[in-house]
């Protein structure tokens, strides 16, 4: 079958998707496979969704609904185009069902996918709000959501966007229950509450759990004062109590539930969505308390002039080399991510291992509408690939390698060298793997007070480390373009990756 990829006329309008060339063949990775109605496939930089016979009627309903059209235009739901001509050679091998797919969609690709265990509580909260907002909007067109999990949502900069188009289904008009409500509570509300009341980080709660926390599990962490708290009662304590009632359990619990009028069903559902929204609001995270690094702006060792000089250096470097996608390692306040944006970058992914600083940066990015995606990532122990066969979520390096034309490591190198004990050549190799062009690295000398603070007296370990050794090691992978001294003990180096000959 010849593959004609002219864009279709009838699909939900996407935003500037170019279906320029059909891939010659697909050695693609199937990203999602649980829904029998279809699956998601990623190939190079493009994202395709195959829809089978069982998923087609629901998708058609989604396509024709004015509500979903509005949501796509508002940027809340991912855009998609139906590909005319169907799958191209090789794609059939990827589709897991016995029958060939009825439809192939191409979705707008999100530049940097991220996962719930990398988000701050506020991001998880915003994702939950978006889910409820979409569920409520869909009710107007008699549509519903089949599931409610944070894995249905990705972030474009600071804005969440709903990507699981196959989750939208036609509602049974007399059904008053929203079955995914339990999943919504488990994956959004309960982790947020345990994080808020007990202080367990989101990463710890979600890295090992695909489907959130059960109320019974959450009970383990709660003390008496937490249990009596209003938000906790409805989300955790009462459901855990009800779950223990032996008589209530049994197959009858899961039989389809019907009421007498469609109006009553809609009213009940509307109340349920409102209750879910209220539950989420009760789980709303407080602005993060200070951590060791969150007061950095006030307590660092740079003078105001030195900070301003660093700002300006970043801005002009990004401008001169026309960097578009920037990765900021150890971003802390995100001050230099903002400088990179002023230099003309289109987007920044800013990572730091401290959830408190990432939370502050996220709020700042949301308020200022800055295209910064802040994530909680420890560069020395970054997100692994998780899920079935270790391939449902991609590791940090898999997502990041070759995706950025500028990588910044400001006031960062000494943390890797001293605290994490990573040898200098390995750190530089990692940076050169991540960037396609520019690297901006700040050298901090061993005499520097921050360096000495990290050393904790083991001076002999880094006796050989100096600007000269740094430059020599960097020159093996990069062309040093310029360096700028910031104070007596620090210099910022601008380097370009040397392409392998």
């Amino acid at each position: 079958m010849s593959a004609d990829y002219s864009t279709s006329l009838s699909s939900v309008p996407g935003k500037g998707i170019s279906t320029v060339e059909p891939p010659a063949s697909i050695a693609a990775e199937t990203v999602s496979f649980r829904d029998p109605g279809g699956c998601l496939v990623r190939y190079q930089d493009r994202v395709f969704r195959f829809i089978g016979a069982s998923g087609e009627p629901d998708f058609r309903a989604f396509q024709q609904s004015p509500v979903t059209r509005r949501l796509v235009v508002e940027g809340k739901v991912i855009g998609s185009e139906v590909l005319q001509g169907g799958p191209c050679p090789g794609m059939e091998a990827v589709f897991s069902s016995a029958a060939p797919p009825r439809l192939v969609l191409e979705h707008e690709a999100i530049r940097f996918p991220s996962y719930p265990f990398e988000w701050t509580p506020q991001m998880l909260y915003e994702a939950g709000l978006l889910t409820i907002e979409i569920a409520e909007a869909l009710l107007e067109d008699n549509l519903g959501l089949k599931d409610a999990t944070p894995y249905n949502i990705l972030f474009r900069g600071p804005r969440p966007v709903f990507i699981d188009v196959l989750s939208v289904e036609r509602r049974e008009p007399l059904d008053p229950l929203w079955r995914p409500y339990a999943q919504f509570v488990r994956t959004f509300c309960i982790p947020l509450l345990v994080n808020k009341r007990v202080g367990v980080p989101i990463f710890d709660l979600l890295i090992g759990r695909r489907d959130g926390l059960e109320p019974e599990e959450a009970m383990r962490w709660l003390g008496f004062l937490d249990s009596v708290h209003r938000g906790v009662l409805g989300t955790i304590v009462v459901p855990a109590l009800l779950g223990r009632l032996r008589r209530a359990q049994g197959p009858g619990l899961y039989a389809p539930h019907r009421v007498r009028s469609a109006e009553q069903a809609r009213f009940t559902l509307k109340m349920r969505y409102r209750a879910a929204r209220r539950l989420l609001r009760n789980s709303r995270p407080d602005p993060e308390p200070s951590s060791e690094w969150s007061d950095y702006e006030k307590r660092n060792s740079y003078s105001a002039a030195e900070m301003a000089a660093k700002d300006e250096l970043i801005r002009t470097t990004v401008l001169d080399f026309e960097c578009r996608q920037v990765l900021d390692l150890g971003c802390n306040t995100g001050r230099f991510s903002a400088a990179a944006l002023r230099g003309g970058a289109a987007g920044v992914v800013a990572v730091d291992r401290d959830p408190a600083v990432i939370d502050r940066l996220y709020r700042r990015a949301t308020n200022g509408d800055l295209p910064i995606l802040p994530l909680v990532i420890d560069f020395a122990r970054p997100s692994p690939a998780t899920g079935w066969r270790n391939s449902e979520t991609l590791s940090f390096f898999e997502r990041a390698s070759g995706r950025f034309d500028c990588v910044m490591a400001l006031a960062f190198l000494h943390h890797m060298l001293v605290s994490e004990r990573i040898p200098l050549p390995r750190v530089l190799t990692a940076l050169s793997d991540l960037t396609t062009d520019v690297a901006i690295v700040e050298f901090v000398a061993p005499e520097d007070p921050m360096f000495r603070a990290l050393l904790r007296g083991r001076d002999e370990l880094h006796r050989d480390f100096s600007a000269a050794t740094f430059e020599r090691a960097a020159a093996e992978r990069f062309d040093l373009v310029r360096s700028h001294a910031i104070g007596a003990t620090r210099s910022v180096y601008v380097m370009r990756k040397r392409s392998k000959s």
Binding site: W178, V228, L241, H257, Q264
Partner: protein, 71 residues
Amino acid sequence: MRRESSEGSERGTMWIRVLAVFLIFLTPVYSYADPGSGILIYQMLAAAFVGALFYVRRLFNFLKFRARKRD
């Protein structure tokens, strides 16, 4: 006056909450074979309550309409 009564209801709900917490620690645990059912049961109970509310509201509006028609 009003503040006293709202304080009273606050204390009332507080005691209900404490009671629920005690119940959870006191009820025997039968099985964890179906741990997800608690939230679903909660939703079904709420749906039954809301369903009743729906009909009460309809009845109330109907009576209001009838009363107006008589005028």
